[in-house]
């Protein structure tokens, strides 16, 4: 187990370097010399600020030197200052948005797992039945319906007509005066719509995966054997089959992590949630390179860490790997 961990850790290093290379590459993609773009980016950029930037990216040096110098700073989470008029450090801007994005996305992910796994399993048990078809259609509705459209409909219903839920943002007026419980309740109210909607959109992937996984497991020899032994069908399905079908889900969990940090741009705009998606979209639109590179790099690093955790989880759960 320990060697396995060590191996995974060592494997992360080249991946990390690769990620920083790609982020760095983005800046080189810009039309014209990067110096031009950087220097002219902001009409109000003083010569001094321009100089600072050139120094920061060592734009007078060869590319590999630039990359090396940049990398050394990134290790210390120093991504420079944003190009937008507020000139704030990139790390500060990311930090204040990271937690809300992770919160919303993990809640949504949790909801997806809670709902999608039973749907997938139960429809695999009765493949091609009416139940299977209906759930198929429902999860695909979630997948393919335009998010914003559904979101606006729910906002009109619950926010404007029924007044049950707030429409957008993260807190109500007078939030500061609420009791601790009131604050939590207020947050929950604000999160219900975005989290539910996001989860609805994500059901299809996992439930379909679960379904085909389960179908596969059900016709394995050991299930046949279990059936042949005369075990009751429910026990066969829920004890033997399910457990084996669930294993790969841990990997799926690992793969969902980029989505955790990613956040959906359209979602965040509609709900007025100041998350990473919004930050990144604005940065991209304004060609705010330091922010773009910062978000890509940090997102990727967090993903790697998440993947590592998922792998460890997998190793712990799967005796075949544990034994190695």
């Amino acid at each position: 187990m320990f060697t396995y961990l060590l191996k995974r850790l060592i494997e992360m290093i080249p991946t990390l370097i690769g990620i920083t290379l790609i982020s760095f590459f983005i800046i080189q993609l810009a039309p014209g010399k990067p110096t031009d773009v950087l220097a002219d980016l902001n009409p109000k950029m003083t010569p001094e600020a321009r100089e600072r930037l050139e120094k920061y990216y060592n734009l007078d040096k060869p590319t590999h030197v630039q990359y090396w110098m940049w990398l050394k700073r990134v290790v210390k989470l120093d991504f420079g200052d944003s190009f937008s008029t507020d000139r704030r450090p990139v790390w500060t801007k990311i930090k204040e948005r990271l937690s809300i994005t992770i919160l919303i996305n993990s809640l949504a992910l949790l909801l997806i797992f809670i709902i999608a796994i039973p749907i997938g399993v139960s429809s695999a048990v009765r493949p091609y039945s009416v139940y299977d078809k209906i759930t198929t259609i429902i999860v695909f509705i979630g997948f393919a319906i335009p998010t914003f459209w559904f979101a606006l409909l729910l906002m009109i219903l619950f926010g404007v007509n029924l007044h049950w839920l707030p429409i957008s943002g993260l807190k109500s007026m007078g939030y500061e005066g609420f009791s601790a419980f009131g604050k939590i309740w207020d947050k929950v109210n604000h999160l219900i719509l975005p989290v539910t909607l996001e989860a609805f959109g994500g059901l299809a992937g996992l439930s379909r995966y679960m379904r085909s996984n389960m179908l596969e497991v059900i016709r394995q020899d050991y299930i046949m054997t279990a059936r042949a032994k005369g075990l009751p069908e429910t026990k066969v399905i829920y004890k033997h089959a399910l457990r084996n079908a669930l294993l790969p889900v841990i990997t799926i969990l690992g793969l969902s992590i980029p989505g955790l940090i990613g956040g959906s741009v359209i979602f965040e705009n509609i709900f007025g949630i100041p998350g990473m998606g919004q930050l990144f979209y604005q940065a991209v639109m304004m060609r705010d390179y330091p922010v773009i590179m910062g978000v890509l790099t940090i997102g990727a690093i967090l993903t790697l860490v998440g993947n590592l955790l998922a792998d460890i989880g997998y190793a712990l759960a799967d005796p075949r790997i544990r034994a190695r």
Binding site: G18, I26, A144, V265, T303
Partner: protein, 304 residues
């Protein structure tokens, strides 16, 4: 299996029709059709996809109006006989715009997925066949690409380039090949030790010939399935980009940019967003049902 050698095609979509040659034994082919036909949702999906093709090819003949014709006297009109889907905020006919929009969605889906599939096949095949350091490097690269949120990557690259239909196709393509590469590699790992490969090698076939003429055709079915599912994904990404205003530029109709107009008028003109939304939904659903249907029917291990 000797027949399979003939079914090679670099285009990922030709196999849709040709790679089944390796099932020329009547039983297998019949089995596929038998299974596929039994899956009614998949058949419906197939018919819808076929219908979409017809609509986009014959758009000029089907569309009742010029999709770009502006008429400010008929702004935001609800569906009627002259405008079956109503009109948008410039008085353009929504039905015609949705019909023409199908061209964008279809071409984005196919070109983007085509690019992704070609890249994925090349990397996956070489990686799986040769193994060793080459495999390590490629798979590491796949890991890296997978660890960056894809939509972010697409946004970043689109912003650097000019928005436009071709750039969108290319960018979606080069950011979504990783799954195919993994699939192909896995197939290669198991196929490369099989007798027919060993036989070909013994006969002195070159590596390239073995990869592309012997192994690849046998590895195509999962790729085909993932391609069909990938088209659905690409259609959604395009509509999201157009929705954000960095996709197809006006006045060209795309489902995504009709939706954008619909969003701002959702309370007074439901028809602007409902029809393109429905179009996206039906298309994505059709591709998914078709893809899953093909997968279920192709997989010989699946019991019926």
């Amino acid at each position: 299996m000797g027949e399979s050698a003939n079914s090679l095609s670099v285009s990922p979509f030709l196999p849709l029709f040709r790679s089944f040659n390796y099932m020329t034994q009547p039983t297998l082919k019949n089995l596929f059709w038998h299974r596929f036909k039994k899956n009614r949702l998949a058949v419906i999906g197939g018919i819808i996809v076929f219908g979409l093709f017809a609509v986009s090819i014959f758009a000029p003949f089907i569309a009742p109006h010029n999709p770009d014709a502006i008429n400010v006297k008929h702004v935001l009109e609800s569906p009627s006989f002259s405008h079956l889907f109503g009109t948008d905020d410039l008085g353009r006919d929504i039905l015609s715009r949705v019909i023409y929009g199908s061209r964008i969605s279809l071409s984005v889906g196919f070109v983007a997925v085509g690019i992704a599939t070609v890249i994925g096949i090349i990397f996956g095949a070489l990686s799986g066949y040769y193994g060793g350091w080459f495999d390590t490097v490629i798979m590491r690269f796949v890991d890296i690409m997978l660890s960056i949120p894809t939509f972010f990557l697409i946004l970043a690259v689109i912003a650097m380039l000019e928005p436009g239909i071709w750039n969108i196709m290319i960018v979606i393509g080069i950011t979504s090949w990783m799954g195919v590469a993994r699939l192909v590699r896995a197939e290669f790992l198991s196929l490369k030790e099989r007798e027919f490969v060993l036989a070909a090698r013994a006969l002195g076939a070159s590596d390239l010939r073995i990869i592309f003429r012997h192994i690849l055709p046998n590895a195509m079915s999962p790729v085909l399935v993932s391609a069909v599912l990938g088209i659905a994904g690409a259609v959604l990404v395009e509509s999201a980009l157009s929705f954000l205003g960095i996709g197809v530029q006006p006045p060209t109709a795309s489902w995504g940019n009709i939706l954008t107009i619909g969003k701002d008028n959702i309370e007074i003109a439901w028809w602007i967003s409902v029809f393109p939304g429905l179009a996206i939904f039906v298309t994505v659903l059709a591709y998914n049902l078709l893809g899953e249907g093909i997968r279920d029917s192709i997989d010989p291990r699946l019991k019926i």
